[in-house]
């Protein structure tokens, strides 16, 4: 926050303190290492693993784990490991981008509603409205309406990616907004906000300087949960045939494709499921550690 170049005390970057605190949270460090590993695997894996996820080898269908196919094959003989790697790219990208959208919307609406009493009622009724909407029919309609135009202008995969990320983002910000609003309402009554007002701090700087940093904890928690939520919603959409095209693997798609073969090859459900849960878990731990590290009251204890 402050850079002091005076000779009195050596200024230590705050991010260094944050990193020091983050390191003491063992779960967070393990989670971060795991998340980095997953990211590297899904980014570099498809280039290193020799089998293409789309290669159909009908003679090797429905196999269990073997040396050639460490995660087995599906009913068309496609390599599950290659599919999990390729699917991870899409799932992680969808998860992160949709989370960012919903986080931005949720924080914005929550802070505005909490801080400005005049628009509180309006924004909260809007939030209630979105909460009350039946999600799946809404998604159906949105995707039906916009899929073709977006595909035409951005290409089939990029178009559907934008659509899915956007749709998940604008239908999952409500919890964040409510939590943030509650915290802002409590924060607004604190004396340091009053002190800032007595100084004459204008509202936008008040929000950026005093309100947002202090509602970081619930936002971080929402962010980690949001990634999980987005990955799972994307799976549900893929299952309904509204997500990515059927030859385009994502973790959710793999999971749902495998459910029919659960009795035959139970491990086919386990691999993508494991990938989703472990990724979500690692993100949760990371968020936990980050939240603690960003709080100066906990830091240094």
């Amino acid at each position: 926050m402050t850079e002091t170049s005076m000779d009195i005390q050596p200024q230590r970057s705050q991010w260094l303190d944050v990193w020091d605190q983050f390191k003491t949270h063992r779960g967070a460090v393990i989670g971060m290492l795991f998340f980095i590993t997953v990211c590297l695997l899904v980014l570099l894996g498809p280039h290193l693993w020799p089998i293409d996820p789309h290669t159909i080898d009908i003679r090797a269908k429905n196999q269990g784990p073997t040396l050639a196919h460490p995660m087995g094959t599906d009913q068309l003989g496609r390599d599950t490991f290659a599919q999990v790697l390729a699917g991870g790219q899409v799932s992680l990208a969808v998860g992160v981008v949709a989370m960012l959208i919903s986080l931005f919307l949720g924080s914005l609406i929550g802070v505005l509603a909490g801080y400005f009493r005049r628009i509180d009622g309006l924004l909260m009724r809007l939030t209630d409205l979105f909460l009350a909407l039946p999600l799946l029919p809404l998604l159906l309609v949105i995707i039906m309406l916009f899929r073709d135009t977006l595909r035409a202008s951005f290409g089939p995969n990029a178009g559907i990616f934008i659509l899915i990320v956007f749709v998940i983002g604008i239908t999952s910000w409500m919890q964040t907004a409510r939590i943030v609003r509650g915290d802002v309402l409590a924060l607004k009554e604190q004396e340091f906000v009053l002190a800032a007002r007595s100084i004459g701090t204008p509202p936008h700087r008040m929000i950026l300087r005093h309100v947002l940093p202090n509602v970081l904890s619930p936002i971080m928690v929402s962010a980690t949960l949001g990634i999980a939520n987005a990955i799972i919603t994307e799976s549900a959409l893929s299952f309904l045939g509204l997500g990515f095209p059927s030859d385009f693997p994502t973790w959710g798609r793999l999971l749902f494709d495998s459910t029919n073969f659960m009795t035959l090859n139970p491990e086919r459900v386990i691999w993508p499921g494991l990938a989703i849960s472990l990724t979500v878990l690692s993100v949760n731990y990371m968020g936990d550690g980050l939240r603690d590290a960003l709080d100066p009251r906990i830091r240094g204890r």
Binding site: T2, M6, Q190, E191, L194, A195, I199, G200, R209, P296
Partner: protein, 341 residues
């Protein structure tokens, strides 16, 4: 209802209050908070937190504002600093009426008046360093380069007795007294003329209270500050204030110089309030006559007819329940709102 000011402040410090030269003049200040009820959130009434206050604060003096919890002391202090939109009345700061101002015009006058808060823990943003807390007023109102800004922050830290090494620490690393010093440094950053101290010592240890009060006195002397000192600690107000105002249920009951008020309280409420102060001398303490008031303070949403104090006054008369007593000046200069004197 608007009393002319001929009150003489008993000068206490080397820089005496100039007679008849008020820095702050408050006239008929009203601060009502609306109460909303029901499904339609209709306004069903209002809490009369501050009801028709009129007084002056002279340059260089300390006006003590005392009263029991919930009597509207803090609301009055905040309304005078325009932290609230006042319902009605005038607040003249150096001749400018700040009650109707808003936005940019009000912001330009903010450096003139500052506040020191009760809870030193809550009044400091836990996520900002001491330096950035003290520098916030500078960032808002002064164009300083980084070096000048830090120089000023260090100057302020020296003035309130904080070690310069603390600049990059966070508020939670400090004791209550040190936190209050940070709050004081922030209030002083823009060289204000007028400071509202909203129970600045109530949350502190007794040993620390003396330090902070001495610091406040010292700063007043050096910088020529004017204080409105809100407190329920009557002995501390006696030590610090040049004049004292006594509030009850949103109204000022009696206002006069410290010695007038403490030696010869006239208003029944002031008498009762002061009789609660323990005497340090055991002999005097043993025959101290306490006036114990019956009943509770009425709700400020529904104050009684007539005098606000009539429900608990030991000397209540019929007229008290019918007519609101005027705020009159006595021959000795003090103002009292009571039918009996």
């Amino acid at each position: 209802m608007t009393p002319e000011t001929t009150l003489t402040a008993a000068p206490k410090t080397a820089a005496p209050a100039t007679e008849g030269d008020p820095l702050v003049r408050v006239r008929n200040l009203k601060m009502y908070f609306p109460i909303y009820r029901g499904v339609l959130r209709r306004q069903v009434g209002e809490v009369k937190a501050v009801d028709d206050l009129s007084f002056d604060i002279f340059r260089g003096e300390t006006l003590g504002l005392v009263g029991e919890s919930g009597c509207g002391k803090s609301s009055a202090g905040r309304a005078i600093l325009r932290l609230y939109d006042v319902t009605d009345g005038q607040i003249l700061l150096d001749g400018t009426d700040i009650a109707p101002l808003s936005g940019r015009e009000l912001r330009r006058l903010r450096p003139e008046m500052q506040m020191i808060f009760q809870d030193p823990q809550a009044s400091l943003n836990p996520r900002m360093t001491v330096a950035s807390i003290i520098a916030e007023p500078l960032d808002e109102h002064r164009r300083l380069d980084r070096r000048a800004r830090m120089e000023r922050v260090f100057e302020l830290m020296d003035a309130v007795g904080l070690d310069r090494d603390f600049a990059n620490r966070f508020p939670h690393e400090f004791s209550g007294g040190q936190r209050q010093r940070i709050g004081i440094a922030r209030a002083l950053a823009l060289n204000p003329k007028f400071i509202v101290c909203d129970e600045p010592i109530a949350a502190l240890d007794v040993s620390i209270q003396a330090q902070v009060v001495n610091l406040l006195e010292d700063l007043q002397e050096r910088m020529g500050l004017t204080y409105l000192f809100i407190s329920h600690d009557l002995s501390m107000v006696r030590h610090l204030a040049t004049r004292v105002a006594v509030m009850y249920l949103g109204r000022i009951m009696e206002i006069g110089s410290r010695d007038q008020l403490y030696d010869d309280p006239r208003h029944p409420y002031t008498q009762a309030l002061l009789s609660a102060v323990p005497e340090p001398d055991p002999a005097a303490e043993s025959d101290r006559h306490r006036i114990i008031l019956e009943g509770d303070v009425p709700s400020p949403a529904n104050p009684p007819e007539g005098c606000n104090f009539c429900t608990r006054c030991p000397q209540v008369k019929d007229i008290c329940k019918r007519e609101t007593p005027a705020f009159r000046q006595m021959s000795d200069g003090r103002f009292i709102a009571c039918h009996l004197v």
